[in-house]
């Protein structure tokens, strides 16, 4: 048993239960939100083309599971490919930018300018260049998720403590050793943090691309459903996209805790 003394109260929390509460917390919040949504829809008789109630959305999810999964698979595939591209290229670019002052000075302003361009405007150009299909979706996912990875890896590398660098150089370490043996491992926490952001951005990118020009994908499904006045199907698509984003996020969070557990190790609160 862990005793926590507050100002005037004494709270005794069984240590074994805290973990359970933490895992259940997001599910509880989600359920409360859904219940509230359902109540609002019922109480105010909201028309279903404005805001469909969760029960209707769930029914649509179950009934059109086949087509939804068909499109979701496509979005998942294009997002993962685009994301994989941005991880590899982002890592390489981040290393270059973070390790060499010339590269930083030369490329960073361009990267920022490039990232400020709304990708919605870029998709039509990609479609004209590469045709409708997977390529614009993969590229848009890549373009949206690339920048956070570059920034975080570069920051991680550039902020290696100068004293550490001096000591290593005094001991005869070459630049390459510095990057590979000290800089990179040290920037892993930053890298994984950026991956969690980047994966959600990659989803945004591919869905945007699909809603502008595509023949398959959740974005296409949502646009077609909207034009058919099937708003509950639009919401079903939104929920499926959100779910895919959360699953990927959790996957990377687990990967992160395995690979960078050493960075967040803390003594247990007594």
């Amino acid at each position: 048993m862990t005793e926590v003394r507050g100002n005037a109260q004494q709270m005794v929390v069984p240590a074994s239960n805290v973990g359970w509460v933490l895992t259940a917390a997001p599910w509880l919040v989600c359920s409360v939100a859904l219940i509230l949504w359902q109540v609002v829809c019922n109480v105010f008789s909201v028309p279903d083309y404005i805001l469909p109630p969760p029960t209707q959305i769930f029914a649509v999810l179950v009934n059109t599971a086949g087509p939804i999964w068909f499109h979701a698979k496509w979005t998942l595939a294009t997002t993962c490919i685009g994301f994989a591209l941005s991880v590899i290229l982002g890592l390489l670019m981040g290393i270059a930018v973070g390790s060499f002052r010339m590269v930083y000075a030369g490329f960073y302003p361009l990267l920022i300018g490039f990232n400020s361009v709304p990708k919605v405007a870029v998709v039509p150009i990609l479609v004209v260049w590469f045709g409708i299909g997977a390529v614009p979706a993969v590229l848009t996912a890549f373009l949206m998720s690339f920048f956070p990875i570059v920034v975080n890896v570069a920051t991680g590398l550039a902020t290696v403590e100068p004293e550490l660098e001096d000591v290593l150089r005094a001991l005869g370490a070459k630049k390459r050793d510095l990057i590979l043996k000290v800089g990179l491992p040290r920037s892993l926490p930053y890298f994984f943090a950026s991956l969690k952001i980047a994966i959600t951005l990659a989803f945004v990118g591919s869905v945007i691309s699909e809603s502008i020009a595509s023949s398959r994908g959740i974005g296409t499904l949502m646009v077609r459903a909207a034009s058919d006045f099937r708003i509950s199907l639009v919401f079903a698509g939104l929920i499926v996209t959100a779910a895919m984003g959360i699953i990927m996020y959790v996957a990377f969070a687990i990967l992160e805790s395995r690979m960078t557990g050493w960075a967040v190790r803390r003594p247990e609160v007594q």
Partner: protein
């Protein structure tokens, strides 16, 4: 200086008084699409002072497809829409109620077409089977495609739909990524703009293949019409007058467009306006009976045809279309 409760109460009181003394809020009208030549008569009504002279304050905004505009009026975000009555029939059918009504039928004939390059050899509806068709999902020509396919018994199972935003439609056709596209006749002007000449384009009109439908009109909710009948009459009259002026001299309408958006290409938009006037607005029936005159039998046939495609019970034409907001016939007649 501390803001005390008294000052806050005073400020609140002033705001309340100001809002009640505020002139009536403008009527919000949403168009079917971006502001182009075919929407210019309504823009003319706004920029050319027709609404002002009629004593109404109307705010005209661009739209994102007829379907979307109808949903916006149904949800209360807008009061009126300029959109396709076919899309409205589908919407009302799906909701099982007359959510919106048609108060001014502007397109006497829906100018929907299938455009393709002559080299694709798509000359009749059945040629579309198995082809790649580029089409924005919420465009009226796409929304009406199932009905077109049903009437002409097209095998739709192998059609590859390329969902694109309207801007990409012509490009897809030119590049050869799409064999055909669902469009309005005004999009021929867009193809010309991409250096595709008339003789390279194959135009398949829906109206030539059993789709004798009414097209775009001014739509609103029954509740809004019941609350503001005079305003609707004034608005319909102003739009009718602006239409007559635009038909007589397209240059005025294009000038109004230019006033609203200096970036418009005048030649392109004028061509679009002329195409929609010639193909959709000034038909033989309108020449005989005036702008906005509706043949209720034909309206009922339109409803029945669309309802059959979507397996909905057809609504009554008299519920959908209310002709009592039109100006007197002699004012709606076009000069000969």
């Amino acid at each position: 200086m501390m803001i005390g409760a008294k000052s806050i109460a005073a400020l609140f009181g002033c705001l309340c008084a100001a809002s009640t003394a505020w002139a009536q809020t403008p009527v919000r009208l949403v168009l079917d699409f971006a502001i182009q030549g075919q929407q210019s008569p309504i823009v003319l009504a706004s920029e050319g002072g027709y609404f002002q002279r009629a004593g109404v304050d109307v705010r005209v905004d661009r739209g994102y497809g007829s379907g979307d505009s109808i949903t916006k009026v149904a949800s209360g975000a807008y009061d009126m829409a300029f959109a396709d009555v076919g899309a409205l029939i589908i919407f009302n059918g799906k909701q099982g109620a007359t959510k919106l009504i048609d108060v001014f039928q502007i397109y006497d004939s829906a100018p929907m077409v299938i455009l393709s390059l002559k080299k694709s050899k798509i000359t009749k509806p059945s040629d579309l089977a198995g082809k790649a068709i580029a089409s924005p999902p919420s465009a009226s020509s796409r929304v009406m495609f199932p009905t077109f396919a049903a009437v002409n018994k097209i095998d739709v199972s192998n059609i590859k739909w390329l969902d694109v935003t309207p801007q990409l439609r012509e490009t897809m056709l030119k590049q050869g990524q799409a064999d055909a596209t669902t469009a309005l006749i005004t999009d021929v002007a867009g193809l010309n703009h991409l250096q595709i000449s008339e003789d390279e384009i194959s135009i398949m009109r829906y109206s030539d293949y059993g789709m004798n439908l009414y097209g775009h009109g001014i739509l609103t909710t029954p509740e809004f019409a019941a609350k503001h009948p005079d305003e609707i009459r004034k608005i319909v009259r102003a739009i009718s007058e602006a239409l007559k002026a635009a038909i007589a001299d397209p240059a005025i309408a294009v000038a109004a467009l230019k006033k609203r958006d200096p970036l418009v290409d005048e030649t392109l938009e004028r061509r679009r306006l002329e195409l929609v006037v010639a193909n959709a607005i000034v038909t033989d029936h309108v020449r005989k009976s005036g702008l906005g005159a509706v043949d209720m039998d034909r309206m009922q046939k339109t409803i029945d045809l669309i309802a059959a495609t979507y397996k909905q019970p057809p609504m009554k034409a008299t519920d959908l279309y209310r002709g009592d907001y039109l100006p007197p016939t002699d004012e709606s007649m076009l000069p000969h």
